[in-house]
Subunit: 351 residues, 2 copies
Amino acid sequence: MTKTINISLDVMGGDNGPTTVLEGADIALVRHPDIRYVLYGDPEIVTPMLENFPRVKQASTFHATEVKIEMDERPSQALRRGRGKSSMWKAIEATKTGEADVCVSAGNTGALMVMSKFCLRTMANIERPAIAAIWPTLRGESVVLDVGATIGADAQQLIDFAMMGGAMARSLFAIDKPTVGLLNIGEEDVKGLDEVKEAGRLLRDFNLPQLDYKGFVEGDDLGRGTVDVVVTEGFVGNIALKTAEGTAKQLAEYLRSAMSRTFMAKLGYLFARSAFMRLREKMDPRKVNGGVFLGLNGIVIKSHGGTDGEGFAAAVGLGYDMVKNGLTEKIEQDLSVYHKNRFAADGESAS
Amino acid sequence: MTKTINISLDVMGGDNGPTTVLEGADIALVRHPDIRYVLYGDPEIVTPMLENFPRVKQASTFHATEVKIEMDERPSQALRRGRGKSSMWKAIEATKTGEADVCVSAGNTGALMVMSKFCLRTMANIERPAIAAIWPTLRGESVVLDVGATIGADAQQLIDFAMMGGAMARSLFAIDKPTVGLLNIGEEDVKGLDEVKEAGRLLRDFNLPQLDYKGFVEGDDLGRGTVDVVVTEGFVGNIALKTAEGTAKQLAEYLRSAMSRTFMAKLGYLFARSAFMRLREKMDPRKVNGGVFLGLNGIVIKSHGGTDGEGFAAAVGLGYDMVKNGLTEKIEQDLSVYHKNRFAADGESAS
């Protein structure tokens, strides 16, 4: 018997409620029949709904929870109200008890992060967690982190992010030594924020075996896919991510409006329909849905709150892939190599 | 006789050399025949070249300069080598002596900023200058600043940026009271960087007559055009700007590739050709070329280094519009109102 991948779901999370979560779970299950779900939610809502998803019901253990975290609730209040008993908390906790390998929630991002930190705690040697996004690029995909877990990061924290992002890239993209860049406002070594410059110097000095550090990258390198992993602190990363999303929406709107203006344009659209469909697929934000919380003792994935079943399935698939490819083990291994080397180096310079 | 608008040009600046600058000057002159140019450059190159642009020659005063600032030169070195004698320095200085109303250069951004600060100094009551970009949005255009003049900004500096950006929006968009937002990673008052929260609190308290403060905006509000003026510090602003540019290029590449894959797509492209042309025009980065240095005793406009004549003409046109609409006077007036009110408020709270 092959090992199943156990995924806990916060069934109550998301703008569109439990239907979307169960739809997504169903789609993901067809793709990966070796998934087993651990579901948390309000039995009065979820139990009857499960009858419509016999495949999911068959592959799930359901746990009743009483509290649902609201999408607009403050993280501190959510923690007070939901700690130990909300569907969100219990789904996170399942990765700690070992009942699940990974947790997926489309709920309130701030609450999910605070609860995850509180419940799972950061890994040994990691001070602060990061949210990693998968960024579609002209070359394929890159990992970008932190896109909003915490504001600010010193040089050491940026190096932690580089290692965690590198491990994620190795889990997802099947490359041995991912290329890594630090997001900055110029490519020369003299430019930019002090902590970014310091992190760059250290990454060059350490010359980590599992990373290929390429230096600074700029905002336009994100879409270009210049490196496999782009490292930045959470304020800048979040603004870059939302700016790119906004620009993509803006251009899609320009395109839509241009194509519906004249008869000839509409005719052209009809002829090129399959090309437009390919383009839409390429630009589909649901395909790369899922922010991964890294640096905690457990993997938690945040699905976009407003997504549909297809998008939620992508987030579940992402969690599946990362567990299957041993993300946590890779991070732990990289950190241990790094800290061994670093202390060895410290020892040398002290002698 | 109507007043002419006097524009100084660093003819040697830019990746593509003096031809692009003179081509752009020529295009702008056809649009605005009341421009007079003050040109600075190497006479051996520029004098014979001017023969190909008789309109520009006719409308210009030419000054010979010996030093040309290289595009990859460090700002500190550029200042040492070019102070007082480079085409860049002299073009900036012309706005100080009164020979020009505005200076336009496609040269090295860092060098242009350092020289402008050194030569023009910051305005009274302004601690640090900002670079403002004109951002194309779904609603039209917004002013976004700072996109890279300096890293970091405290609450007071963010308020300065808001006022200067507001004055620029009033000069360009013909609105009396532009809407203003602070770029942050959440819309609630409790989220984000401390200095951003503090600036938000102060903007609400002051309730400046010339600005309509709307609160925090996020990265995706940039393309949406939620507010007329988006305020942030230079590191984040620069990364947001380049991220948007990179995303636009990425999607244009997706579109190009989708439209050339199959015969039907190519046929569709032909039918919809005029729509695609409109789209290309809409997305044309040359149309909104020009970063405006604000907060100095003189207006300096940075054209993109790699632009062509059309793009350089847009930067010249931008300078023309701002002078015509009294940008400097508006900034000075707004600052004086603000400081009068602020000191009055300080006096009240002290009494």
